[in-house]
C-alpha cells in the first residue's frame, strides 16, 4: 500500500493575478492553475482513496475559514477541505477559481491555515504531508511569528513548495527586470521561510516546464517468488545446494488506462422525455455521464442438435460440465478430477545447466525480466549467491534454470545472467522459449542465392554488390548515436530507456486530465517529449547526408507503382519448377464448361486464356450459377464457406483483370436474391458473412475502372 497523502494547495486568486504579464498570452492565474490542475489531476488519476487534498483561496473577495475572525485571516477562503478529490470536486473548484476584486490577504496567514488543516486532519498518524503555495508575491505579508511556522512545518514533517510567476531564480536563470520592490521583499521573505523549512522555492516557469516531462509512476517492489535457488536434488543427494532467494520484476509494461464500454440509458436512447425511472442511479453523475449506463456481457450456450430448428439448441449454464477439447473430441472432466491435467510441481528455482553467454542469441528473450537477489537480511545467502554471480561473470556464462513460482504452477525455463554493480549484485532473469514456442518458418539465406537446380550464386540482383556493401558500411557508421559526457568525451551509454516515455500511456493520461478540467476543449496534441525518438536527430542526419545520398544511389531501389501490383493481364502465366508450359496442355484439354466440382481452378484458367470479353463474361455467368446452386442446396450453413471462397476468388480475379463491373453486377443481384429469400429460404446469415468477409462492391480504391465510390460501397454493405 502506498502511503497516505494529504496536500493543501494555496492559490493566490487576487485581482493582480488576473493580469497578463511579461508578454504572456495567459493570465498569471491561468498560468498558475496549469500547474495546480496538473498536480490535482495527477492525484485524482491514481484513484486512491487515501490520496487527499484540500484547496485554499488566497485574496478572495470574502472570507471563509475557521480563523477568519482574526483580521489577518481575512480574504482567505477554504475552497475545499482535505478529502479525496472526485470529478464533482474538480468541477466545483473550476467554478470557484477566478480572479477576485481585491489584492488583500496574507500569504503567511494562509500558510498557517494550511498547517492547521493538516494538523487537524492527520493528527499524529502516518501521512505524507505537503503544502503548495502559488502566489505572485504582491500584497502585504506579515513576517511575525515565522519561527513558529518553521518549527511546526518541521515538527510535522510537512513538505513545503512555494512558487510564483517571475520569481527570481538564479539557478534556473530567471530574473524579473524592474521588479516591484514589495514583490522583491515578499519573495525574499518566502524564500527564507522555505529555506528554513527545507522546502522548495522556485519560479512558476520552471514548474510548468517540468510538467512536460512525464511522471513515471514508481511501483513498490513485490516479490514474485521467495524460495530457493537449488543445484541438485536435496531430497536425494546431500551434495545439493540451496540458496534462499527472492525474485522481483525488473521490467513490467505499464499499460495505459483502458476505456470502459457504455451506452446511452434507455430513456434517453429511446428519446422519451424526463421521468427518471426506478433504475439504480450510480452515485455521482456528470453532465454527460448521467446519460450513460454500463454494458454487461451476457453469455449463452448452444449445442448442435439436428432435430432442432436451425440445428442448434440453447443450453443453460447449469446443465453444462467442464471439459477440454482434444482435437474435435470433447473430453469431459468431472469436478473431482478437476486438477487431473495439471502437472504437479513444487516451488523452486532449479539449475539445469550452464551455457556460454556469447553463444546465446539475444532474440531468444521471450518475456519481461526479473531480478533474483538473496533472501533479504541473510548474510550467508548473500555470500553464497555472490560467489555464484561472480563465477558466472568470470566464466562468461549464463545459467539455465527451471522456475516454479508456486506449488503446482507450470514450470518455466529461465536464463540467469550475472549483474555486478559497485553496491548491488543480482541475477537477471528472463524466460526462454520451450520447443512449442518456436515457429519454424523458413526463409532463404540473405548472403547467397540458391537456385532451383541447387547451385549457390553469390552475384544476383537480390544480393548486394561490393559498392552497396561499402555504401551501407559508411552510412551505418556515420549514423552512430554517440553520447558525450560533460567534458565532451565519448561515453558508452545503453540504448535510451530512462528518458523515453510510453507515448500512448502519457498521451491518454494527458487527454483524460485535460478533458476532465476543460470538457469542451479539443484534446491537446501529444507532448513533444513523447515523440523525441520518432525522427533521426538533425545533427546526425547532417553528418550522414553525403553517405545516405551515396547509399541511395548505389542501392537503386525503385518504388513499385500501385497499378502494377496485382495486375494480371500482362503477366506471365505461372509455371512449375521445370518451366513446362502447362497452359499449352490445358489448351489441348479443351475445357468448355466450368465443372462445379473443380470450379475455382477452371474459372481461373478460363480467364487466363480468355481472348474476348465475351469469354470472361460467360465464365462469370457460369461461376454465378455454380455459386447460386451451392447456396440453394446448402443445408443450413454447410456450404457457406465454399460460397465465400468462390465469391472471393471471382472478386479478386475480376479486380486483377480489370473487370470490376461484372462482379458488382453479380454481387448486387446476389444480395437481392439472398435478402428476398430466393435461394432456399432464409440466407441472412450468409449475407452477414459476405459483409464480414468484405466481399461487397469493388470500389474505386480497389480498381480504377470501378464506378463505385467508397460511400456507395459502404452503403451497399450496411443496407439490409
Amino acid at each position: 500500500m502506498a502511503d497516505k497523502e494529504a496536500t493543501v494547495y494555496i492559490v493566490d486568486v487576487g485581482k493582480s493575478m488576473g493580469q497578463r504579464r511579461n508578454g504572456r498570452d495567459i493570465t498569471d492565474l491561468e498560468w498558475a492553475m496549469k500547474y495546480i490542475w496538473d498536480c490535482i489531476t495527477n492525484t485524482v488519476a491514481t484513484g486512491r482513496k487515501m490520496a487527499m487534498l484540500g484547496v485554499i483561496g488566497l485574496k478572495t473577495d470574502g472570507t471563509d475559514n475557521e480563523l477568519g475572525d482574526e483580521s489577518h485571516f481575512s480574504h482567505i477562503s477554504v475552497l475545499s477541505e482535505i478529502k479525496q478529490f472526485l470529478m464533482s470536486d474538480i468541477r466545483e473548484l473550476g467554478e470557484l477559481i477566478k480572479p477576485s476584486n481585491v489584492d488583500k490577504g496574507d500569504a503567511i496567514s494562509a500558510l498557517i491555515l494550511a498547517i492547521q488543516m493538516i494538523i487537524t486532519h492527520c493528527k499524529k498518524l502516518k501521512w505524507k504531508r505537503k503544502i503548495v503555495l502559488v502566489t505572485n508575491g504582491m500584497g502585504r505579508m506579515n513576517s511575525e511569528n515565522l519561527e513558529d511556522i518553521v518549527s511546526k512545518v518541521k515538527e510535522d514533517n510537512i513538505e513545503l513548495i512555494i512558487l510564483g510567476p517571475d520569481f527570481d531564480d538564479a539557478e534556473y536563470g530567471t530574473k524579473e527586470e524592474d521588479k516591484d520592490p514589495r514583490k522583491a521583499a515578499n519573495e525574499a521573505l518566502l524564500r527564507t521561510v522555505s529555506e528554513q523549512c527545507d522546502g522548495v522555492f522556485g519560479t512558476l516557469e520552471q514548474a510548468v516546464e517540468e510538467m512536460a516531462t512525464p511522471r513515471v509512476k514508481a511501483v513498490r517492489p513485490v516479490a514474485s517468488f521467495k524460495g530457493f535457488l537449488q543445484l541438485g536434488n536435496p531430497e536425494e543427494y546431500d551434495t545439493a545446494v540451496r540458496i534462499p532467494v527472492e525474485r522481483y520484476p525488473r521490467t513490467m509494461v505499464a499499460k495505459p488506462p483502458t476505456a470502459s464500454q457504455f451506452v446511452l440509458r434507455s430513456n434517453t436512447a429511446s428519446g422519451e422525455e424526463g421521468q427518471e425511472s426506478a433504475t439504480v442511479v450510480p452515485e455521482s453523475q456528470p453532465e454527460d455521464g448521467s446519460s450513460l449506463t454500463n454494458v454487461r456481457n451476457l453469455r449463452t450456450y448452444q449445442v448442435n442438435d439436428e432435430s432442432a430448428p436451425g440445428g442448434k439448441i440453447d443450453i443453460e449454464r447449469d446443465e453444462l460440465a467442464k471439459g477440454y477439447e482434444y482435437g474435435r473430441t470433447a473430453v469431459h472432466i468431472s469436478e473431482t478430477d478437476e486438477n487431473i491435467t495439471r502437472l504437479e510441481t513444487t516451488a523452486a528455482l532449479e539449475l539445469v545447466g550452464f551455457i556460454q553467454s556469447e553463444r546465446y542469441e539475444r532474440y531468444m528473450h521471450l518475456s519481461n525480466t526479473h531480478i533474483i537477489i538473496s533472501s533479504r537480511a541473510n548474510d550467508k545467502a548473500s555470500l553464497a549467491l555472490s560467489s555464484f554471480i561472480h563465477a558466472l561473470f568470470e566464466l562468461e556464462s549464463y545459467a539455465v534454470a527451471r522456475l516454479v513460482t508456486k506449488e503446482n504452477k507450470p514450470p518455466i525455463l529461465v536464463l540467469l545472467a550475472p549483474s555486478i554493480e559497485p553496491e548491488y549484485e543480482c541475477l537477471l532473469e528472463v524466460q526462454l522459449p520451450f520447443a512449442e514456442d518456436v515457429r519454424t518458418y523458413r526463409f532463404p539465406p540473405l548472403d547467397k542465392v540458391v537456385t532451383v537446380s541447387g547451385k549457390v550464386v553469390t552475384q544476383h540482383r537480390n544480393l548486394p554488390n561490393d559498392d552497396l556493401l561499402n555504401a551501407m558500411d559508411k552510412y551505418v557508421d556515420s549514423m552512430e548515436l554517440k553520447d558525450t559526457d560533460e567534458d565532451g568525451d565519448l561515453i558508452d551509454t545503453p540504448f535510451p530507456i530512462e528518458d523515453s516515455f510510453s507515448p500512448v500511456l502519457h498521451r491518454v493520461n494527458a487527454a483524460i486530465r485535460s478533458r476532465a478540467i476543460h470538457p469542451s476543449d479539443p484534446i491537446p496534441p501529444p507532448a513533444k517529449i513523447l515523440t523525441q525518438f520518432s525522427q533521426q536527430p538533425d545533427q546526425l542526419l547532417q553528418n550522414a547526408d553525403r553517405h545516405l545520398k551515396n547509399l541511395m544511389e548505389v542501392a537503386d531501389v525503385k518504388k513499385v507503382p500501385p497499378k502494377a501490383k496485382g495486375r494480371k493481364r500482362a503477366r506471365e502465366p505461372e509455371k512449375p519448377l521445370s518451366g513446362l508450359d502447362v497452359d499449352a496442355l490445358l489448351h489441348q484439354e479443351k475445357r468448355v464448361r466450368i465443372s462445379p466440382n473443380n470450379a475455382i481452378p477452371e474459372f481461373k484458367q478460363t480467364l487466363a486464356q480468355a481472348e474476348t470479353i465475351e469469354t470472361t463474361k460467360d465464365a462469370v455467368k457460369q461461376m454465378r450459377s455454380i455459386i447460386e446452386d451451392q447456396i440453394r442446396n446448402s443445408l443450413g450453413d454447410a456450404n457457406y464457406d465454399r460460397v465465400t471462397e468462390g465469391l472471393g476468388v471471382v472478386r479478386e480475379e475480376l479486380i486483377s483483370y480489370e473487370e470490376p463491373g461484372h462482379y458488382n453486377e453479380f454481387i448486387t443481384e446476389l444480395k437481392e436474391a439472398l435478402l428476398k429469400e430466393k435461394l432456399g429460404g432464409d440466407r441472412r446469415e450468409l449475407w452477414w458473412l459476405v459483409k464480414r468477409s468484405k466481399l461487397g462492391l469493388i470500389e474505386q480504391r480497389e480498381s480504377e475502372l470501378s464506378e463505385v465510390t467508397e460511400e456507395e460501397a459502404k452503403k451497399f454493405l450496411s443496407a439490409q
Partner: protein, 652 residues
C-alpha cells in the same frame, strides 16, 4: 463450418497482435498427407547400429511422422485440419465408396485413411494402431499390382480440399514417396498429372514433396516432380524464391536416420508461414525506404482454456458460447455502434468521441524507422519486455529491398551493431522504441534450417516499464569462494554450451494433453510425466558433488569470519533481526549440509513428527517448513498440519 470464424474474432479481441490481412479467408491450415504404398516403400531398412533393432520402412516412417504431426497440431493448432491419404494400395476407400460399392470407383488405389478434419481422439487412435499394429497394417498397406495414376491422386486430393477445407488460407498436400518417376515415359499420364497439378495450384493448394531416396537410387526431382511443383506459393505471392532444402532428399539407408530425417523436414514445415504484417516500410533514412514483412517466430504457446461440455446428448459435445451485450439499466440487447468508450476518472466517466479515441493512439502510419546505430552491447540483458519480431525483405513495394536489407544485415552482423528504431506496428497500436539486430542462419544436423537469417526487432522498455531494484544486503564473496563455485559451474555445461529450445518441450502443456488423450481414448492415466526440464540430479551429484562440498566448507568458513567481525564491531548494539536466520544456518557439523542459511527448520519439524507433536509447532514455522519444500503456505493451521504430515509421510 462458418462458425469457426467466430472463434477467430474472439481471438482477435484477446490477442490483438495476431492480426491477419487475409480478408475473406479463414486463417487456418489444412495438411493432407499422401503417402505412397509400394514394395520399396514397405521394405524395412535395418538400422546400422546393431543395438537398435528397428525395422523402419519408408512407409512406416511416413505414417509415424503423420501421427506425430497430428498429435503436435492438436496442441499447437487446435483449429487446423489434417488427413492421411494412402495411394498405390490394393484397397480403395473414398468417403462412402469402397470395394463393395457398386459401379466404378472414382479413385482406384487411393485409400483415404483419415479424412481431412480437425482430428478426433478416435482418429488419433486409428492412426496409431496402423503404425503399431502389424496385422491391420498388413491388410491396408498392401500395394496394388496396378500403378496408380498420379492425375487421379491429385484430383482426389483436390476434391478433399474443395469439400472439407473451403476458404482456408493455407492448404497443403504433403507427398511422401520414393518413386521419382511414377509414369516413366507415358506422355498422356504425365500431362494429365501436370494439368491436375495446375488445378491444385489454382485452387491454392501447395504441394510439398518429401522425397525418399531408394537404397541404390538417388531421388531425382527433375524426372517428374519439377513439372507438378510450383515456385512461389500462390497464396503468398511475395514468398521468396523456392527454398531448395525444402525438398532435400531423405537418403538415409537405415531406418532410424530415415525417420529422423523425415521428421525434421516435416517438422520444419509443420506450420504454414503467417506474416504478422506484409510490406511495411523500413525507413533507413529520410526518403529512403524498403519494404519488409514481419513474422513472430517465438511466442509462448498456452494450453487451451477449459470449455463447457454438454453431456445430455449421445456423446459429449462442446457448447459454443455466444456473448450478447446488454445495457445494465434495462437489460436490452445493444448493437456495436451504440457502444461508447469512456475512461473512469475521479468516480465518473470522461468521454471521448470514437474519432478522438482513435486519435489518441495515432502517431502516424505504420513504419519501422531507423533512428541511429549503436554497438549491440548497448542493449542491456534486462532491457526486454516481450517476444521479438522477425523481419525479412519483400520486393512487393520496393524493387531492390532484398539487396539493401541484405547489405544492412551483413553490416550489422559483421560489426555487431544494432539499430534504434521507432516502430509502429499498426495505426492503432501506438509506437514502440525498439532495437533491431541481425541474426544468423542456423541449421540442424540434417541440414534443415532451424533459424533463418534476418533482422530481429526487440522492443525496449520505456522508463515507465522499468522497476526499481529493492534494497538488499550485499556480502561480496571472496575469491576463494568464487573459485570453488567456478569449478562447479564448469562441470555442468549444457551440450555445446548452448540452449536449444527443441530439447525442452513444455512439461505442463505436454502433460495436459497427455492426460486429455488418455481420457479421450479411455486409456490408463500415465503415472509419471516425462519432464525434460527437470535437472539431471544424478549427473549433477556425480560431476559436481565433491566440488559442492569444498564450496560449502569454504562458505561456512567465510561466513563465520563475517559473523565474528560483525560481533566485534557491534558489541553493544542489539543484534538486528537479520542475524536470526543466519544463526540457525550453522547446524552441528554432523553431515556437511550445503545449505546457505535456510535454517534447521527441517530437523525441528522432523523431530516433532517423530514424536507426534507436530501441532506444537507455530503456524509461522509450519509455513517456513512448507515454503522450504516449495509447497503452498496458505491456509489455516489445521490445513498446514495436514500438508506437512502428508509431506513427511511420503518421505519416510
Amino acid at each position: 463450418m462458418a462458425d469457426d470464424n467466430y472463434n477467430r474474432e474472439d481471438d482477435v479481441v484477446e490477442e490483438e497482435e495476431e492480426l491477419d490481412e487475409t480478408g475473406y479467408k479463414s486463417v487456418r491450415d489444412a495438411v493432407l498427407f499422401a503417402i505412397e504404398v509400394s514394395d520399396s516403400m514397405l521394405q524395412p531398412r535395418p538400422s546400422a547400429d546393431p543395438k537398435k533393432r528397428s525395422q523402419e520402412s519408408p512407409a512406416t516412417a511416413a505414417l509415424k511422422c503423420a501421427y506425430h504431426l497430428m498429435q503436435q497440431r492438436i496442441i499447437s493448432n487446435p483449429r487446423d485440419m489434417i488427413g492421411v491419404l494412402l495411394y498405390g494400395t490394393k484397397q480403395s476407400k473414398f468417403y462412402d465408396e469402397d470395394e463393395s460399392s457398386r459401379g466404378d470407383l472414382s479413385y482406384p488405389n487411393c485409400y483415404l485413411f483419415t479424412d481431412l478434419d480437425i482430428p478426433s481422439a478416435h482418429e488419433v487412435l486409428e492412426l496409431r494402431s496402423l503404425v503399431e499394429d502389424e496385422d491391420e497394417a498388413k491388410d491396408i498397406l498392401e500395394p496394388s499390382e496396378e500403378p496408380v495414376s498420379m492425375a487421379n491422386l491429385l484430383f482426389c486430393a483436390n476434391q478433399i480440399f474443395t469439400s472439407k477445407a473451403p476458404n482456408f488460407v493455407s492448404r497443403r498436400l504433403f507427398i511422401v514417396t520414393d518413386n521419382d518417376n511414377p509414369h516413366g515415359n507415358n506422355k498422356s499420364l504425365r500431362s494429365a498429372a501436370t494439368v491436375r497439378a495446375k488445378d491444385l495450384y489454382d485452387l491454392g493448394v501447395i504441394i510439398e514433396l518429401f522425397p525418399i531416396s531408394q537404397v541404390d537410387h538417388e531421388f531425382d526431382t527433375s524426372k517428374f516432380y519439377d513439372d507438378i511443383i510450383y515456385k512461389a506459393s500462390p497464396m503468398d505471392p511475395e514468398a521468396p524464391a523456392y527454398l531448395k532444402p525444402e525438398s532435400k532428399t531423405t537418403d538415409a539407408h537405415d531406418g532410424i536416420s530415415l525417420l529422423n530425417g523425415l521428421l525434421s523436414s516435416i517438422n520444419s514445415r509443420s506450420v504454414p508461414r503467417r506474416a504478422q504484417f506484409s510490406n511495411m516500410s523500413l525507413e533507413l533514412g529520410p526518403n529512403f525506404k524498403i519494404s519488409v514483412s514481419g513474422y513472430i517466430l517465438f511466442k509462448r504457446q498456452e494450453s487451451a482454456r477449459s470449455c463447457y461440455v454438454w453431456l445430455g446428448g449421445e456423446k459429449p459435445q462442446i457448447a459454443k458460447g455466444v456473448t450478447t451485450q446488454i445495457a445494465e439499466d434495462s437489460a436490452r440487447t445493444i448493437e456495436k455502434w451504440e457502444i461508447k468508450k469512456a475512461y473512469k476518472f475521479g468516480g465518473d466517466q470522461v468521454c471521448f468521441t470514437p474519432d478522438e479515441q482513435k486519435g489518441l493512439k495515432d502517431f502516424g502510419e505504420p513504419v519501422i524507422r531507423i533512428i541511429g546505430f549503436k554497438p549491440l552491447s548497448a542493449l542491456p540483458f534486462w532491457a526486454n519486455v516481450k517476444h521479438p519480431l522477425f523481419i525479412y525483405p519483400s520486393e512487393e513495394d520496393y524493387v531492390g529491398s532484398t539487396r539493401v536489407f541484405s547489405a544492412l544485415y551483413q553490416k550489422l552482423l559483421k560489426d555487431q551493431k544494432a539499430a534504434l528504431v521507432w516502430y509502429i506496428a499498426r495505426k492503432t497500436a501506438g509506437p514502440v522504441l525498439a532495437v533491431m539486430m541481425a541474426g544468423e542462419e542456423k541449421v540442424d544436423e540434417n541440414g534443415v534450417q532451424k533459424m533463418p537469417s534476418g533482422l530481429w526487432i526487440i522492443p525496449l522498455p520505456f522508463a515507465d516499464d522499468v522497476r526499481q531494484n529493492p534494497e538488499a544486503t550485499l556480502q561480496v564473496a571472496p575469491e576463494s569462494l568464487i573459485d570453488r563455485m567456478r569449478t562447479i559451474v564448469q562441470q555442468l555445461q549444457l551440450p555445446k554450451g548452448v540452449y536449444d529450445p527443441q530439447k525442452y518441450p513444455n512439461p505442463s502443456l505436454q502433460w495436459h494433453y497427455r492426460i486429455l488423450q488418455a481420457l479421450a481414448l479411455d486409456e490408463d492415466i500415465p503415472e509419471k510425466p516425462d519432464d525434460k526440464t527437470l535437472p539431471k540430479y544424478r549427473q549433477i551429484d556425480k560431476r559436481a558433488g565433491d566440488y559442492v562440498f569444498e564450496w560449502s566448507e569454504e562458505l561456512d568458513k567465510q561466513y563465520n569470519q563475517i559473523t565474528a567481525n560483525q560481533a566485534k564491531m557491534t558489541t553493544l548494539a542489539k543484534r538486528p533481526a537479520k542475524g536470526d536466520a543466519a544463526d540457525k544456518a550453522a547446524p552441528p557439523a554432523k553431515k556437511i549440509k550445503a545449505e546457505a542459511g535456510s535454517g534447521n527448520i527441517q530437523e525441528e519439524v522432523q523431530k516433532h513428527f517423530a514424536k507426534g507433536t507436530l501441532s506444537k509447532l507455530t503456524v509461522a514455522s509450519l509455513r517456513d517448513y512448507l515454503a522450504s519444500q516449495g509447497r503452498a503456505t496458505a491456509g489455516k493451521k489445521a490445513e498446514l498440519l495436514e500438508r506437512v504430515e502428508e509431506l513427511l509421510e511420503t518421505k519416510f
